[in-house]
Assembly symmetry: C2
Homo-oligomer: 681 residues x 2
């Protein structure tokens, strides 16, 4: 290891990195032209002068000097450089040029670059702390964290110290000039010491690669992503900070979740989820039992678990009888099980109730709530640890997580539990959120037992004319397996009459003109034309809406209105979108997204996700629709988006669904290679 | 003070209470028949034997002995008893009877009762700790907490110790057999030492009184309510625990918020909100500036603030120029202001940037994010305290809250800030949530500068026939100022033709029969009947739907569909409900509630609350509606519900709104004194 810019001046970056590497068991040399030794270790003035092979050089010099250091590293055959200095792409075009030149030099020589503008990297198990962090994360914990934000790399140290969380790798990616985060995830996927991967990001780098890597990671180990920059101000800040491309952030969380990623809304939530996913067997269902000695906190936790989609079911009469046999008089064997504040019996009752619940077959997750007196009593912790060991030796693999509410001075008791692999989560809200993630990820893993590697998706050229000509576009979509209602183009009221006779009454007439994209805004859609005279009147008026306007005539279809779409996202690649009901989509933006292509299970999951999805099964006075047909349509659109990269955007809006199937009534396809269409959209 | 059941046996309830009272500056006597002294203090065998007046007796004896103790207290003229024992109403009918008898005895003698089944009470400023709590909450903080859950009373001690939160009164209400929580709130409202009131409840006791007290409390000081038992399991647990009535919990949060209550979802969120509302001037707007030294955490916080409805606006070019003049090269003067990790300049830059932002007039709230190195540096804290003192002496009252991310060992630095009245909130999520509450409460206070006491709402008897007879009901509602579409009842196709001619075509026909309440489910609604023959056909079919069915004929009205309703809630009293759009109400349950009666501002706030409220102003292809008419209708329904307690339920569904006004198309009124209607509903 080499530290370029190493310094004896306290609190200077070169000094912080130098001291952080002191615990490294291998050799570390200082490189600086301004000293002959640091802390008694001989300093070299350049990487070129260091004898022997350098695996890693940490570069803590001003940006203006960094390029020369990388040149030296290239000449010296250094394996990789971690550049903690700032002043590159995040500062503007000049910094970008400097960064690009640095990458060029490094790649020509086969030197890997981490950063710049990053905190550095830590391999906590070694321990190797090649970073600017004040304090090191504790190793041996199997949680690896990739972060664009240096402060989250430092937070790992705080969580190690305060909450006993331990880690494997902490990788601060900064400007990511050379190595993409997705490549790091892919490496951590096969790293045997890493059991859970976290990523705190402001941008996704190569988003398509990220989705591809996530697809093969999540069936093997949990990948938790917290992507900030969702809000307008957040996006502004993220852009200034990491020089990343603006993107349609609204889709990110959905698309990542569709490939099994655990998506969180705050960095602490990400780390709590990691702690829970790391430690216990995965939940195999969503039925939770709570053991509490305070009714209020048990009730609060039950509410918050329900918000996460988990159930806290009533227990069977047999199980309640077993519980009642050991519980004190005023206790409740309902779920939450409230053992009441019988201080003297805590160490006996918590493990006994836990054992009965875990073995019952009625419950997938058990949460002992340890509060104040029960939390501060080490005998309670010891007894819970012993009870879980007994369960495991009988192959009862129900996960147990502790909800912990007590003063910090009682934390050593929680530490006992955590050292035995039982996560302790502070307060009901943090507890419910983390366990919700564990349950959802458990469900993903059950549905995706293993990743089936496929060859890269075959792509094809989009036929000429598709996207320009409505009839060609419709024929193309029909040939791809997308049902589209028959449409006849008319340029006169007379031809419309002939068309209506062929389609059969009632018919729908819509204006068609490149300037009138939002037809209903201009009164350009006439529904339910039941007679020839109604068609005549309507079509004559529509033809007047614009010079050279034409009219499209269709059979009047009925059914539940859906929106199915495809999007080639600048960051994430091909995406499918699904929403229900005109007003839900238009007003509430009730649309969900998934990565394309998707299998039929993922298509079914997507159509269940919007808030309005309950409409698919019919509600008061409305019949249910053919869900299989809807899922098939979504899957077909996904296949189409993955096969034809030239499709920038595909809108099937509305699609009408009935118990007998689905049909797209209006279609719009925008080619990415069609500048005019793009400008007009 | 007397402790009944005082004991020298360690960890027994009587011992815990006795020891907790040791710090009380007045006289405390033990009462127990089984000892002559406790810790050297003479014990009495009964309250009757204690010489002098007893202000408060804490009763820690088994439930079976408690009634006799209350009899003794009555005989001895004790002021109040705090009964910490369990085994009363929460255990079933026998316990309820025992509790009722205890209340009867106490009330006859004028003895107040707190509990039973409670942790006790603490007046932290005295200090008086008349409770079972392990440890006492620290006084002098102005935050008073009413809690049904003993564990939250204990949590105050943990928060005092760990996060430097201090309190005024902690009141554990338990079964609330005598004093209602609302009465305690009303007392704390006029308590000069209480600046913020928190209530953690599983039930609301006298909910109408609670709403009434909340109305007069929130214009004076913040009232924060966390009501658990929202979920099915939570409600089950709450019922077993506190013997409270089941109620329609869905409405609680909305109704409380409508009278200015700060509503939270977890106990910790409640206490964080209290901490923020206690310490700084109230925000006078929602424009937030963030000062950070880590881009990632600043971005995360900006996202989470946006989720709370706050804005993190771009700063003016003038302000940015002033900031740029002091910021280092790579820093960002956008908002969030990122001063970058320039450790050596933290103590200079944080206060300087804070000062510029607070004086700018562009910002209502400033949040310095103190992370790791900046959090651990006491000079930074001192400099921020000095900067805020300078602002206040210049009457710049912009509130400042610190977002704090560092290891716990650095907490003494945060304690410095908190002692100076600057709340430090750990992690971005807790920070954003608490500040969101402060901003919303600030907005409530601006709109409600003071409470205008009114005489109790005048109530009237509901005229006979209203609720039974559709025509009488319609006439009554019209007389009250509710526009209802003209409706003609017909019992034959012939009379329908006459009615249609009078109303004018097109008309709507609806079946009317007591067995067919959900008309559209049975095909009982026919819209857009444009001709006499259509009316004939439709009405003939509708009359066949049930023996003795009749048909209601109305003019076909058009407009945006609204639902306006009134409900006499068993817990909260009269309530108004408002929702938009058939599918939004039916499928997404997108309805909001407010306490009735309401003023016009509250009515406007209510109609803005549903997710679909954007429809009121018109969206693509749909015109906006007359918001003032909608708000007036809501206010009128509120007045009606408050005036006529006999109305159990009023449904105006749909109401059709246009740019010209509103009209109710279908009305349903259920009387609470009409058993048959209630059974049929």
């Amino acid at each position: 290891m080499a530290v370029v810019g190493a310094s004896a001046r306290e609190n200077s970056p070169g000094n912080v990195v130098w001291r952080n590497l002191a615990a490294y068991p291998g050799e570390v040399v200082p490189v600086t032209p301004s000293a002959t030794q640091i802390d008694g270790v001989t300093a070299y003035s350049s990487l070129r002068d260091v004898p022997g092979h350098i695996d890693l050089a940490v570069v803590a010099v001003p940006a203006s000097a960094a390029l020369d250091v990388v040149r030296d590293a290239a000449a010296a055959g250094v394996g990789a450089c971690v550049i903690v200095s700032a002043g590159f792409a995040e500062t503007g075009p000049a910094g970008q040029a400097l960064q690009d030149e640095m990458v060029k030099v490094a790649r020509e020589a086969g030197v890997l670059l981490v950063g710049p503008n990053c905190l550095g990297v830590q391999n906590c198990d070694v321990p190797l702390n090649a970073s600017l962090s004040a304090g090191a994360a504790v190793g041996g914990g199997g949680i690896s964290v990739i972060t664009q934000s240096g402060s989250y790399a430092m937070a790992l140290h705080a969580l190690s110290e305060d909450e006993g969380v331990s880690f494997a790798v902490a990788y601060s990616s900064g400007n990511r000039c050379d190595i993409d985060d997705a490549e790091v995830v892919d490496q951590l996927r096969i790293d045997p010491r890493t059991q859970v991967i976290c990523a705190f990001v402001e941008s996704l780098g190569d988003g398509r690669l990220f989705v591809e890597v996530a697809r093969r990671t999540t069936p093997v180990k949990p990948l938790i992503v917290n992507a900030v920059g969702r809000s307008e101000a957040g996006a502004r800040a993220a852009a200034s900070h990491t020089a990343a491309l603006a993107a349609n952030r609204r889709t990110w969380d959905d698309v990542l979740a569709s490939v099994g990623v655990v998506v969180t809304r705050s960095g602490l939530e990400m780390l709590d989820a990691a702690k829970v996913l790391r430690a216990q067997p995965l939940p195999t269902g969503s039925r939770v039992a709570i053991i509490t000695n305070s009714g209020g906190t048990g009730t609060e936790l039950a509410d918050l678990l329900a918000d996460e989609g988990l159930s806290v079911p009533e227990l069977s009469s047999g199980l309640r009888a077993s519980l009642d046999a050991i519980l004190p008089g005023y206790a409740s064997s309902a779920n939450p099980v409230d053992i009441t504040p019988v201080w003297t019996r805590f160490a006996e009752l918590y493990p006994a109730v836990l054992d009965l619940l875990a073995r019952s077959g009625e419950i997938d997750i058990v949460i002992p709530v340890l509060l104040h007196r029960s939390a501060e009593n080490p005998e309670v912790a010891d007894a819970i640890v012993a009870a879980i060991a007994a369960l495991r030796s009988d192959h009862v693999m129900v996960p147990v997580y502790v909800c912990w509410v007590a003063r910090r001075s009682a934390w050593p008791v929680a530490a006992k539990l955590q050292e035995a692999g039982i996560p302790c989560l502070e307060w009901p809200a943090r507890t419910a959120s983390a366990i919700g993630h564990a349950a959802r990820y458990g469900s993903h893993r059950r549905a995706n037992q293993r990743f089936e590697p496929t060859s890269p998706h075959e792509t094809k050229a989009l036929p000429l004319g598709v996207g320009f000509d409505a009839e060609l576009t419709r024929e193309f979509l029909v040939a791809q397996g997308i049902p589209v209602v028959e449409t006849i183009r008319c340029d006169s009221a007379e031809s419309a009459l002939t068309a209506a006779a062929r389609l059969g009454y009632p018919v729908v007439a819509k204006v068609d003109h490149p300037d009138l994209l939002h037809k209903s805004d201009v009164g350009g859609v006439r529904l339910g034309l039941g007679t020839a005279s109604e068609v005549l009147d309507a079509v004559s008026e529509l033809l007047e809406l614009a010079p050279d306007a034409q009219v499209l005539l269709q059979t009047q279809a009925r059914g539940l209105e859906l929106v199915v779409g495809g999007l080639s996202d600048a960051t994430l690649g091909p995406i499918v979108a699904f929403g229900l009901g005109g007003v839900l989509v238009e007003v509430l933006d009730d649309v969900s997204f998934a990565a394309a292509p998707l299998d039929i299970e993922a298509a079914q999951a997507l159509i269940a996700r919007p808030r309005g999805a309950v409409l698919l099964d019919g509600v008061r006075g409305m019949p249910g629709v053919d869900r299989a047909a809807v899922a098939n349509l979504v899957q077909t659109v996904g296949e189409l988006m993955a096969t034809y990269p030239q499709i920038a955007e595909l809108d099937l809006n509305p699609v009408l669904a009935t118990a007998d199937g689905v049909v797209a009534v209006d279609v719009r396809l925008i080619r990415s290679d069609d500048v005019n269409s793009l400008l007009g959209s």
